[in-house]
Amino acid sequence: MGFMQLMQLIVSSSLMYAAPLILTALGGTFSERGGVVNIGLEGIMVMGAFMSAIFNIQFFGTFGAMTPWIGLVAGGVIGLLFSVLHAVATINLRADHIVSGTVINLAAPALAVFLTRAIFGAAQTGPLPRAFGRSNIFLLHRIPVIGPIFFRNTSGPAYLGIIIAIIAWFILFKTRFGLRLRSVGEHPHAAETLGIKVYTMKYAGVLISGFLGGMGGAIQAQAIHNEFGILTVAGQGFIAMAAMIFGKWNPLGAMGAAIFFGFAQSLARIGNYIPIIQDIPNIWLQVLPYLLTILVLVGVIGRAEAPAAIGKTYIKSK
């Protein structure tokens, strides 16, 4: 395998594995910037993955090549609906954020697998008829050298994630909405005295996280596993949270960290083609992403500055 082909392989596999992480990490960023910890993203991803798989199987005849993209939106919508549970529990009912998130993480896989069994009679859906596959990015793939490495035969959803990350950065740091969302995550009382509706902003953060997390799950099912089963998501939501922290609650940082984790995950699959790495037993490459997650969190947590009022219940005075 030539150098160019090897580079192309590394970049495209990294991006493929990174895509779900990017979107989910961005989701986490919105929620936590508004002060709500959302470890329920793992469960939300499961629901997104499940929904998109069902959609894919049911409607591929109707929508053809557009099926996985519409399935992506379907996954986002179910993720958003599921995140309402977390929002009501943590914002209105003052539940502990971790407990509520854990409930979602326990409930979602159970519900999804139960429904899968009810519909398909098995714990998995079986292969999806219309997965994302690989695509060339419009025009960009014609650029010499860079084009073939980055934009040819690669992951479409990953580039969608990168675009959303850039938009998210603008929203958080350049718009009125972003300033208000961040103020609520830092000092909700100050925000309230300035007439900002604290609960509304927190809802916005959590619901956006649900939509993005659901989309992340949909990519996981339709681009990586090409089916839905109990193992489809398996910890990706937590890795995305790690990426969010590693990226210091900044959308671009989270995106970068997600691509890094995507690279780590892809090694288990493409390690055989890369000199040096090909001698490492595959089991270690499979463990690597989780090990890296732990190392990154140990190294970064404590030093990275989280929003000041994160995880705290805000009680309106009246």
Binding site: F170, F177, L179, R180, E186, A190, A191, L194, A308, K318
Partner: protein, 527 residues
Amino acid sequence: MSQTNKVIEMKGITKEFGNFRANDNIHLDLNKGEIHALLGENGAGKSTLMNILSGLLEPTEGEIWVNGNKVNISSPDTANQLGIGMVHQHFMLVDKFTVTENIMLGKEKHRYGFMDQDSAEKDVQELSDRYGLRVDPKARISDISVGMQQRAEILKTLYRGADILIFDEPTGVLTPQEIEELMEIMQSLVNEGKSIILITHKLDEIKQVADRCTVIRRGKSIDTVDVATTSQQELADMMVGRSVSFKVDKKPATPKDPVLEIKNLTVKEARGYDAVKAIDLEVRAGEVLGIAGVDGNGQSQLIQAITGLTKVDSGTIKLAGKDITNKKPRQITETGLGHIPEDRQRYGLVLPMKLEENMALQTYYQKPFSKHGFLNHKEIKEHAKRLIEEFDVRTPSEEHSAASLSGGNQQKAIIAREIYRDPALLIAAQPTRGLDVGAIEYIHKRLIEQRDNGKGVLLMSYELDEVMNVSDRIAVMYDGNVIAVVNADETNEKELGLLMAGVSLEKAHEQVAESKGKEKETVADTK
């Protein structure tokens, strides 16, 4: 005075929290262009009343009139629209945002939702120039001084077009010089046509700037008086409801050998920088050493190091001749230390536990309270009863939880526990914070008594008056250093204020002497 002159009238305001009446039929009116003081002890209901005026709370009963119109202030937004702005005691600022971001938050300049930072920064600069409130619009709140943070907080209300400004205990966190500056700012705001309500329990500030003063006590309005014709003593008596004495009675100290010797002590803060920087300090038996300084200059870390609650980085601490550097709190306590902690509810008491248990927290494992690892509840109860009696702790019984006591009585319970063990050194950190005048009198008396019994007392307080009244010597801390140790009867508020702001002792001397000289000159001139 005509009706239209009143910008605010609060009539018969009552606010109930459950069965508790925080405000009981309170009346308050504010004239245009006046500074109106709202005086009351902690817990008298001042903040509740002002939270009602600023829309954070809704009154149970009563009417509010603004500029002659009856209004219903249901949210902070409504208050803003009526031109009412509040400068909060604990600044309502987002540390990570810039001054401009904090000021425009909720009223952002924007185009299609995208913020227009540059033009907002210009606006802030203009406002800042117009009212003489120096701020750096681009600086992050966490990087600027407390004084500038307060000016940003004031600008926030002006940016929203406030004509009526409420200052809630604005001087608590400021140095005397910053207080002086704030008083001037308030005067110039009034000259610009604003009206001000000043919430405070400091009488000299009222005498200095206020036109009228409304006194409230236990949720009821007592009277509204003309400040010019009312003495500080009268105001104080009105506030407390009985005659109070300001002066602490004490004989000159007779200091003996040192009980606490600190040499070259460095303590790191949680985030890793030096909070206490190689200081030397000594407390002798039979004296009160006061530690003055603005909050956050290493005082808390110093005390945590002495009491064993935080690690000493380098240097030594000796208590009663024994090295206690980095020893466990229990060892230090047994060596002869009593500690009235800064945060009594977090470090002084276990709130949900019974008062009698709290009173044995330091000694429960010793005889007679414990035998073979079992507690002797009878002895613990007897002990608590003795302390309650001797230190006049007001509680229905020793079996009530510590949480059920008032702040003053919680503090008395801690003081009883600590003093009863008769420690060689008593550390009192902010011992009267949030307490009423009566409790303050009592606590000061007890500290002096401890001194007169030949024990050492280390008093840390952010209240300059308290440090000056109770201490024999005063150590001033600034930026982790003890920048001067002065005798209490040879210094004054001005000098201490300069020292607290980091001015060296010689310079502070000079400046104080200079300003005295000027005063004399002007007096001579007028003659």
